[in-house]
Amino acid sequence: MKGRKPVRALRLGLLAAVLLVVPFADHNNAHVDFLANAGAFVLLALGLNIVVGFAGLLDLGYAAFFAIGSYSYAIFASQQFGLHVPFWIMLFVAAAIAALFGILLGAPTLRLRGDYLAIVTLGFGEIVPQTFLNLAQYTNGPNGIGSLDQPSLFGRPFGFSATPYYYVVLGLIALGIVAARNLQHSRLGRAWMAIREDELAARHMGINATTAKLSAFALGAAFSGVAGVAYAAKLDLVSPDQFGFNVSVLILSMLVLGGMGNVAGVIVGSLVLSFVNSFLLPQASNIAHTAGFTYLDFTNYRFMLYGVILVGMMLLRPAGLLPSAKRRAELEAALTDPALAAHEQTEYEGAHAR
């Protein structure tokens, strides 16, 4: 075990070095731009993974917290209300605001059974962008809020290059990975796992299931709020159509593809899907166009792809491409051994129903 530590550190250092020099080595701004955007989605996937992967709570309205983070920045750092809170402070403020909304949503609903909770979060995910749309006198309705403040570091504004955003997002991801891993291997992370496996037994261990689930909701939302600030500042615009159910399902697909509960898997899953969305589908369409199939535009069918990922992965490889060993055993055992899953369910029912 000890002998492997330096190897691991070396590999990590190498990866970090590569990631740091990308903007210098690759002068194509579009590539850096892509990486910065994809990075925001890595952050989102890391956050949703805390809720779905660690705590086992299916959140179908996760994009709402992304919206809340983005709109926080638009409201507190633009001409809209003449407020100009610095970007760096807004990262914390938006995390706090999103976490607060996570708690507000979670507190009354976390008692619900898992599938009902999923639908309630979906409803929340619909209501939030709709509210931003409808409150037009504050948010400009469908036009959204533009001309957001440019972040600056040591007095130097970011400008319109994607490179500074790339570094910001990279730094946030590094922090996010450390946070996610720390949580996973801690008292709280074990409590989440225990709740996911058997909530009733978990409560017998002295675990306050409500607080633990609320923490997952709040932490997941905080990640989303931070991602929202970075994304909004980079795009220089927020509008209500950026945060629909599609976005929530996209992030969920990233998790399902990479492997729920697995930090590395989730990162790979989100990068793969971002790459497919931004490069592969447009490229495929171009090829089809030049080949004479002018009516073919694959980018219109990206949602089909999410659907196929969700169904296909659940049926064929429920633990994802890079599953964590534990989640894999857990998810696949249920596919092959109905008795195990059925056993768990009926027991829980028994404990409540009698």
Partner: protein, 259 residues
């Protein structure tokens, strides 16, 4: 003159009904600290229901459950666990896809201090605590004879090992009252002998134990007192020898498959 000391643990006139079905009726018993007692009775007598009443899964329709003089009526299951009451389950309820070590460490949850911030940042305090708890969990695994299975997922352990792991997990919270729900179910005679020795060692460490068990040999060998339930009511109480001779007990068990 001192006020009488409250009983270590006491059920007083507890009734528990679900709709029209009365599962436990007017049940009273008290436990002395560091005693070891059995709760027996034919299937469906309400034994597991009593455990569920104690740990707050069910609420008494009337009557009181108190621990160290304190009523448990308004406490949630996790709060009751934190007071020092731990249990095992009739149908094993381990965290099947967590390692044996993680199962036991999870059992320590209520006694751990790490806050959300500690968990997020892995503060030195958190790391010290984790190390201590892991060490203690290993000790407990050794105590129940599972030190070599620390890294195995709970669902991969043999049935008897799972029963012992549940006991280790329950002990992790340093309980003062331990509720064992049919700990010997499915065990072979050798495993049962080991179990008896284990329970005696736990008791020797100062823990009060309540046992729901069908195996009379085990009950008679371990327990000082026995309470017999039938159809939710207490029909006899006393030493094993006394209870065994009680005609009402014999009658309740007549025709029961597993006396």
């Amino acid at each position: 003159m001192r006020a009488p000391e409250p009983a270590f643990f006491e059920l007083r006139n507890v009734r528990c009904a679900f709709g029209g079905l009365v599962a436990v009726d007017d049940l009273s018993f008290a436990l002395e600290q560091n005693s070891i007692v059995a709760l027996i009775g034919p299937n469906g007598a309400g034994k597991s229901t009593v455990f569920n009443l104690i740990t707050g899964i069910y609420r008494a329709t009337s009557g009181t459950v108190s621990f160290g003089g304190r009523s448990l009526a308004k406490l949630g299951t996790h709060q009751i666990a934190a007071l020092g009451i731990a249990r095992t389950f009739q149908n094993i309820r381990l965290f099947a896809f967590m390692s044996a070590l993680d199962n036991v460490m999870t059992g320590r949850h209520a006694r751990m201090q790490a806050s959300l911030a500690d968990s997020l940042l892995h503060t030195p305090r958190q790391r010290r605590e984790e190390r201590r708890v892991r060490e203690r969990a290993r000790e407990l695994l050794r105590f129940v004879g599972l030190e070599r299975s620390a890294g195995d997922d709970a669902h991969n352990l043999s049935y008897g090992s799972q029963r012992r792991l549940e006991i280790a997990r329950a002990l992790a919270s340093s309980p003062t009252l331990l509720l064992l729900d049919e700990p010997a179910a499915g065990m072979n005679p050798r495993e049962k002998d080991d179990l008896i020795a284990l329970v005696e060692r736990i008791r020797a460490s100062g823990v009060t134990i309540v046992l729901v068990e069908h195996d009379m040999k085990l009950v008679m060998g371990l327990c000082e007192r026995v309470t017999v339930l039938d159809q939710g009511r207490k029909i006899a109480e006393g030493t094993p020898a006394h209870v065994r001779a009680d005609p009402r007990v014999i009658e309740a068990y007549l025709g029961a498959s597993d006396p």
